[in-house]
Symmetry: C2
Subunit: 446 residues, 2 copies
Amino acid sequence: MRLLIIGGDAAGMSAASRVKRKNPDIDVTVLEKTMDVSYSACGMPYNIADPNRDMEKLVVRKAEVFIEKNRINLLTCHKAQKIDPDKKIVTGVNSNKKMFSFSYDKLLIATGASPMIPDLPGFDRPEVMVLKTLENGKMIKFFIKKKNVKKAVIVGMGYIGLEMCEALTRRLVKIDMVKPGPVFLPWMTSDLADVIKDELRVNNINLYPGHKIKRIDPKKIGISVVCDNLSLDADLVIVASGVKPNSHIAVEADLKTSISGAISVNNTLLTSNKNIYAAGDCADAIHVVTGAKCWIPLALRANRAGWAVADNVCGLETRLKGVVGTAVFKVFSLEVARTGLSVKEALEAGFDPAEIFIKTRSRAHGQPGSQTIHVSMTGDKKTGKLLGVQMVGKEGVAHRINASAVALHAGMTVEAFSQTDLSYAPPFGPVWDPLLTAANQLMKKL
Amino acid sequence: MRLLIIGGDAAGMSAASRVKRKNPDIDVTVLEKTMDVSYSACGMPYNIADPNRDMEKLVVRKAEVFIEKNRINLLTCHKAQKIDPDKKIVTGVNSNKKMFSFSYDKLLIATGASPMIPDLPGFDRPEVMVLKTLENGKMIKFFIKKKNVKKAVIVGMGYIGLEMCEALTRRLVKIDMVKPGPVFLPWMTSDLADVIKDELRVNNINLYPGHKIKRIDPKKIGISVVCDNLSLDADLVIVASGVKPNSHIAVEADLKTSISGAISVNNTLLTSNKNIYAAGDCADAIHVVTGAKCWIPLALRANRAGWAVADNVCGLETRLKGVVGTAVFKVFSLEVARTGLSVKEALEAGFDPAEIFIKTRSRAHGQPGSQTIHVSMTGDKKTGKLLGVQMVGKEGVAHRINASAVALHAGMTVEAFSQTDLSYAPPFGPVWDPLLTAANQLMKKL
C-alpha cells in the first residue's frame, strides 16, 4: 500500500512514523514544503528569548533519521499543489522548480495552518515577520541580533503575541501591541483578562486594542505601524493575528470543509473522500461540550490525529472522541489556562450559562510563597453541567486546568465535579482546591 | 434544635460554622478536648522547618471568633467521654476536672484520629513525640530550640514522617528513619518508591526498614531507639507510624464501625443511629473505584463531610459520593502523588490489574529546567477501566494527579482517559502529557 502525506509537521510525521512502526511494508511518502520537520514550534518564543540557545535545539528528530531509520520517503522542499482524487495523484513543485507527481492508495492532508497577514500596504516589508515555521523563528532571532532591535510592534493579542512579549522583553526589546478589535482577550472573562493586562502593564507592554491598522510606512530608521489616531514606531513588526487552515488544496479537490474553512473529517479522520484523511491544524474536530464541529488548532490534537490516521491506515480502527479546547500559555510570570466554553460560546451553543469568578490562593493558609489564583467557571442552568473553566495565576494553573478538562470529557455536572477528591498538601494548594471552591460557588447559581 | 458536636477540628468546625450560616436558629455546641480549633494541621511540618515563623500563623480562625461572630457555643478543654443514645445525652469532663453533660437533638461525632504509639518501654519518655495537634507541633518546635536537637529518629515512613524529614533537615537535624515493616512505601510501586529513596539518600536521611523496635533507652545525653541488630541514638524521637480512628466513644454507644474500626456512615454521614452523624478522620467512606467501604483520613474529605452534615441537619439533603484516595506530599524537592488503587489494592478488590511505569519529562523538548516525571498507571484487564495512578517528580506532579482523580470519579476507561484534551505549552509539559503517555502505554497491556 502507498500512503502519501502532504505536510511533514506534527500530524504528518506522527502518522508517517506510526505507520512504519505498525506496518513497515506500507510505502510512506511525505511531501513537506519547508526544509524542516519535527520541531517544537510552540517552543520558539522561549528559544528566541535566549540569545545563547541554538534554535536547532528545538528539532526533535532530523529528516535523515526519518529517512534512514524509519524508512520514510521524506521529501522536504516539496510543495504539493493539486490533488486529483479520481486518479489518486498529487502533483506539485519542488524548490528546484521541478514538477513532481505521486500516486497514492491513501492520502493524508496535514497541511497545517498559516498566519493571517493583513492585506495592507507595507506588510510585505522585510521588517514584518510571522512566527509559524522554524525558518520564521530563525529569521526573527537573527534579525533581533543583526539589527539590534530595540522596539517591536506586535499586531494581534493572541497566545503567540503574548508569548512573544516575554521573549522580546528578555531581549530588552520594548513592545507595543495593537489590534483592531476593541476587547483585549474576547474569549476570556473580563475579570481574568484584567489580571493579564496588569501583568503586561507591570512589564511595560503597551496595549492598543481598538485601533484599525492602515499601513506600515518606512521611516528613516525602522518602520511605523500607522493606525487610526496612532502611529507606532518599530524596528520589527511581528504579525500574530491568528491563523487560518491550509485547506485550499482540499477545497480544490472538492473535499468538504466546515467551520473556519477547516477540512471536515469524521471520527476516523476521513474526509468526504474515502481515500483521503486530514489531520492537524488543517482539519476540524468535534467539540465534546457542544457536540458540534469546531476548529481549535493545537499541537496535542494534531499528534493524536496523526496517530489515529496511522492506525486506521493500518487497519486498526481508531475513533477520536473530540476536543474540549484546553489551552495554556505563559504571560511573563502568569500561567493562563482555559478549557471548554466561555459564557459567550455557551450562549451561542444554546446553553443557559451561569458563571462565577473567584479569587483564592495557590497554597494553604500560613504557607509562604502563596499566590492569588483567579478562577472563572461556567455551568449550564438547564442541565447543571460543567461547561468551561478559565484560570490565571502565578503558580498552580497549568496542570490544575486538566481536572476540569477531564470533567468536561465525562460530561460531569458541576455538583459531581464539586465532589471530586482532588489532592491537598499545604505547599500545593488550599484544602479546597480552587476548582472545588469555584464549583461550590457556581452550584448556588445553577 | 440542638446540634451537639464532639470535636472541634476540620469536620466539627466546618459543620458548626455552616449550620450557623444556613440556620442561625439552630443551637450549636462544640466540645473540643484540646485548646485549639481551626488550624492547618497539615501545615505543621512546614512551620517547624522555619524557626522564625510563629506557629500561631497556622490558626485559621480563633475560638473567640467562632463564639462571638458565629454564635457557636464552643467549649475547648472539654473532653466528651460517653454518649447515651437513648437519652440523647453526652457526658464528659473539662480541664478543671468538672463533669459536664449536654443533651442533643442531633449529634455529630468528629473525634478525628490519633497517632499509633508502640506499646513498648520508653515510648512515654518526654523526648518521644507525635505530630497531631497544634500543641504537639508547638512542643516539637520548642524542644528543637530549647534542647538544641542535632539528631532525631523518626519511627515510621509515612506521609508525616517524610514531611518531617525536610522540616528537621532545615533545622540542621540529622535523621534516621526506622520501622518494622520491610518495604519502604508498601502502597507505592517499587520503581517510584526507589526515586523517593534516592531523594532521601541525597539529603542524608538514613532508612532502616525491617527493624523490629524493642524499646527506647535513656543515654547519658539523649536517648536510643533499640531495635533488632540496631541502636539509633537521638535527641528527639518522632513517632509517625500511622493513625487510628477515635471511634471508642462510638463503639461504647453501640454504633456500627467498619474497616480499621472507623465509624460506619451512609452517604448522608448518618451512623447506625438516626440522630448521630460522624464525619472526618473518625468515619469511613465509600471508595468510588471499589464501591466498598474504606478509611482514608484526609483533610478535604473531613471538611466536605462536615459541610454535608450541616446541610443534612438543616434539612438540605446532601449525599456524598465517595473518595478515590487522592493524596500528595512533598519529600524535599520531590512531589509525590497518588490516586485510586495500587496493584495490590486492585488485586484485593477483585480486579485483574495491569500496570505500567514510565519516565518522561516535565517540560517540552528543548525547554531548560525540564525534570524527570515518573508515572505508574494501573488499569483493569476485564473492563479496561482506569484503577489508579502514582506519580513522582520535581515539578508538575501535585496538580497533574487531579486529572486522573476526576477520571476515576467518572469511571473512565484507560482508553477514554487517553483521549482527553489536556493542556500543553512548552514550559509546563510535553505535547503528550505524562498521564496521556502512561495511558497510551497501559492500553497495550489491557
